[in-house]
Every structure is written in C-alpha cells, then in structure tokens.
Amino acid sequence: MQITAENLSCERGGRTVFSNQNFSLGSGEFLQLTGPNGSGKSSLLRLLACLSEPSLGKITLANGAPELTLGQQAHYIAHSDASKSALSVNENLIFWRDFLGGGDLTRALDSVNLSPLADYPVALLSAGQKRRLALARLALVSRAIWLLDEPSVGLDEASQKLLVALMSEHFKAGGLIIAATHVPLGVKPHKNLHLGGQA
C-alpha cells in the first residue's frame, strides 16, 4: 500500500493554508507532521480523510481496496473524541464496532487499559480516559491507514506507552500512520513533513 501526494495545496476561507506539498508513504511507515499553529497540519489530515478536497494537486492510493475511498480505509482521530457521554464505554465501542465493520471488543479495551471501566458511563470518565476511549477505535476496527491529530494530548505517561505499543503493532502489521504532533510521540518517524514556511 502506498499513499502519494503530489503538488498538494489547501485553501480555507479564501486563504492559502499550504501549497505545493509532496510526500509518499509506504506500508509500515510513519509520517510525522510538524509545524506551528495554523500551518495546516489538521487541514492536511482532513484532506487525507476525504473530508475536504485539495484546491490543487492530488492524493493517490496504490494497492488499496479499489472500491473504497482513502477515507473509508482510514481511521481519523481528531481532537474530539466521538464518544457519547450518555452511553457506557462498552456501548460506545459496540456501536463503532457495528458501524465501522466489526472487530474484537475485549482486545480493544485491553489495548487502552479500559477493561475495568467497561460498564462506566462515559460522562464519569476523565479527559485522559475519554482520549483512550477514542484511541480504542484504532485497535477495535482494523484499518490500514491511521490519521492521528495530536494523539498524545491529555495522555499520562503510562497511556502514552499504550499508544506507542498500538502504533508499533500497527507498523508490524504493515499499516501506515500519518500523525500531526508538537511533541515526540515516542515512535521514531520514518519521514517528517514540516508545514508552514521556514523550517
């Protein structure tokens, strides 16, 4: 599997966020996006998730599932946790499992160390625990491409180790990760893309 971006430009509200970006990423590789606030890291991830369209240039996916878009083969973990506070941890994950196409609930709960809280309503979880619940989606449903926007925000040291473990396992399975981050995630990136003017 190979993602290639050529000549990518992004515009928001009439303002050019970034222009002329090129990169390519193969199976088992990790691309780290860096750059100051407003340099377009999140915008680039949203382009890759097929939530928005580039103003110029194109993104191609080789050796993927041809009938699905790139977005449909990707996990996108953004700043919001996409969980419902009126549902329990288990209910949230069961919904996403059924909605996104199946997976192993117990393994997902274990991978982010939420098994003891499985029957808790999400309303009672702390911010870090909610973040882990969002990350559990990665382990729950198998998708080859992970698009992570500041995945380590709000995580304590132990939880960051869990994230590193999740990512390493994903590389071993031949997955791709593109992550925007301000702090090193603890996994050495294969490639680095710096957005926003002078590096």
Binding site: L68, Q72, A78, K84, L87, F95, D98, L100
Partner: protein
C-alpha cells in the same frame, strides 16, 4: 444494513436517556395547549372548531424545536466525521438519523396529540382521521426537519433560522393534514394519500439534501 441498524439503535437509546427526547417535546406540547385557550378564551364551541388546527401547528413546532438534536451533538463531538468515513453513504446515515427522530419524537407525539385534543373539546369522530394523518405527516415533518437541521448545523441563532427555512416547507403537510380532519369523507381519503406521497417524496429528497449540507459543514 447492520451498520444502519446499529446507528438507529444508538440514536433511540440516546433519545431515551438524554433530555430533549419525547418527554420534553410532550411537555412543550402540553404547555402550548394550556396557553392557547387562555389566549383564545374558554368558549367550548370556538375551541372545538380550532382544535385540529391548534394540534397540527403545535405538532409542527414540537417537531421543529427538537430537530437540532438530529445532527448537532454528533457534529460537535466528532462522531459525524467518523460516520462520514464509514463504508455507508452519508445519505443513508442522514436518512437513518431522521428516521430515528421520527420514531423517538414525532411518532409518539402524533399518537398522543389527538387524545390531548380532549382538552380542546375535539370532536370524537375526527380523532381517527387526525391520528392517521398525523402519523403519516409526521414522517415528512421529521425528514424535512432533518434538512433544516443539517443546513443550520453549528450556526449561532440556528434555532430561528431553521424555523424560517423549514416552516414554509411544512405548508403542504399542514394543508393536507387539516383537510383530512374536515369530516367530509370525500376529502379524507385523497388527503391521506397525498400525505403519504409527500412523506415518500421527502424520504427521497431529504437525505440527499441533508447529506450535501453535512458535507459542506464537515469540510
């Protein structure tokens, strides 16, 4: 299909557990029903004549005011983004969510409303036509409301804007809903059939429009 079933189940559970579901809508309904006779006067004959219209308009407003629930929360907490990346089309997601709104709010209201008509001295022989027309009409109401909800997603003062956008679209439902309650048997049947046609047309049109609007907001 399994995926949409999961979505439907989730939305129904959420509607039952969180406030703003049918309980609140019913409370709103009752409040309006109390205020109107105070405004109009307690004359039984006047109220009896106005009852179907009052019930219909209160139904329109209750459905409309609960419509922001259809997409708003899922947009704010990021669920909608994940749904847009699922192997189902966003049109089907929008349809399922509007359908969940109908099942959880509009349908119970339209079953309860004719019986609440007792408070307005509603003529007993039009309880059935009113119930039937409301059940069909409310499906169209929920679907049209889902268009409005998607158009005003994430807007300040969205509540006022959704009223301007959606209430004109409610005119046909109101007209044929009312004409089913005239008591004239020659008019009842065609009115009910036209209401079904409106509901079916909304079933096709609303998800397309709502999904297009959602995509614009997700950009």
């Amino acid at each position: 299909m399994k995926l949409l079933g999961a979505l439907l189940r989730r939305d129904l559970i959420l509607a039952a557990r969180q406030g703003g579901g049918v309980g609140t809508a019913l409370g709103f309904f009752l409040t309006v029903l109390v205020l109107l006779p105070i405004g109009i006067g307690p004359d039984q004959i006047t109220l009896q004549r106005l009852a179907p219209g009052i019930l219909w308009i209160t139904l329109l407003l209750s459905v409309l005011l609960s419509a922001d629930r259809i997409f708003q929360q899922d947009f704010e907490d990021g669920s909608l983004e994940v749904m847009a990346m699922a192997p189902a089309s966003l049109e089907l997601v929008a349809l399922t969510k509007a359908f969940a709104h109908w099942l959880s709010t509009s349908l119970p209201l339209s079953i309860a409303a004719p019986f609440l008509g007792v408070l307005l001295n509603l003529r007993t022989e039009i309880i059935w036509p009113l119930t039937l027309s409301m059940i069909q009409g409310s499906l169209a109401l929920s679907l049209l409301a889902s268009i409005g909800a998607s158009l005003t997603l994430n807007l300040r003062r969205g509540g006022l804007l959704i009223s301007i956008l959606v209430l004109p679209l409610y005119v046909p439902v109101l007209v044929f809903g009312m004409s089913a309650t005239t008591g004239n048997p020659e008019v009842i049947m065609p009115s009910l059939l036209i209401l079904s046609a409106i509901a079916l047309a909304s079933l096709v049109l609303a998800p397309i429009a709502a999904a297009a609007a959602l995509r614009a907001y997700l950009k």
